[in-house]
Symmetry: C2
Subunit: 75 residues, 2 copies
């Protein structure tokens, strides 16, 4: 399966923002936002296709806007 570029951009940006905010562990961040660690890992590795509800939850956990979380995806 070919992974779409937007998923890679989203996953990499999530990982960068998570670490930049001091959440060095996926486990701790997952607990913070109420999701499973394997799910966070799957998004960061571009394997998951998160819904709008999840994108908003992740953005709030990182204290960025949902728009900012998608800002590295090419138009």
């Amino acid at each position: 399966m070919t992974i779409p570029a937007h998923r890679i951009a989203f996953g990499e940006h999530l990982r960068e923002l998570r670490r930049a905010r001091g959440w060095t562990s996926q486990e701790a961040f997952a607990h913070h936002v109420g999701l499973d660690r394997t799910y966070i890992s799957g998004i960061e590795r571009s394997r998951r296709n998160p819904t709008l509800d999840i994108i908003v939850k992740l953005a709030r956990g990182l204290e960025v806007s949902p728009s900012e979380l998608l800002s590295t995806i090419e138009p």
Copy 2:
């Protein structure tokens, strides 16, 4: 079921952008982006929880960035 505010913001913004781009019919826009009319309708009425892949598809069909499509959702 209570509809989350971010879904309402997203659905209303999608409808506004669709009309502003001249897609007055949901049916024509749905065909343009390769989705079903009932699915577009469901998103605009906040009933659907679109995935990242779908958000990107909608944004490209509207010629806006995915980030812009989420710009009306409160942080």
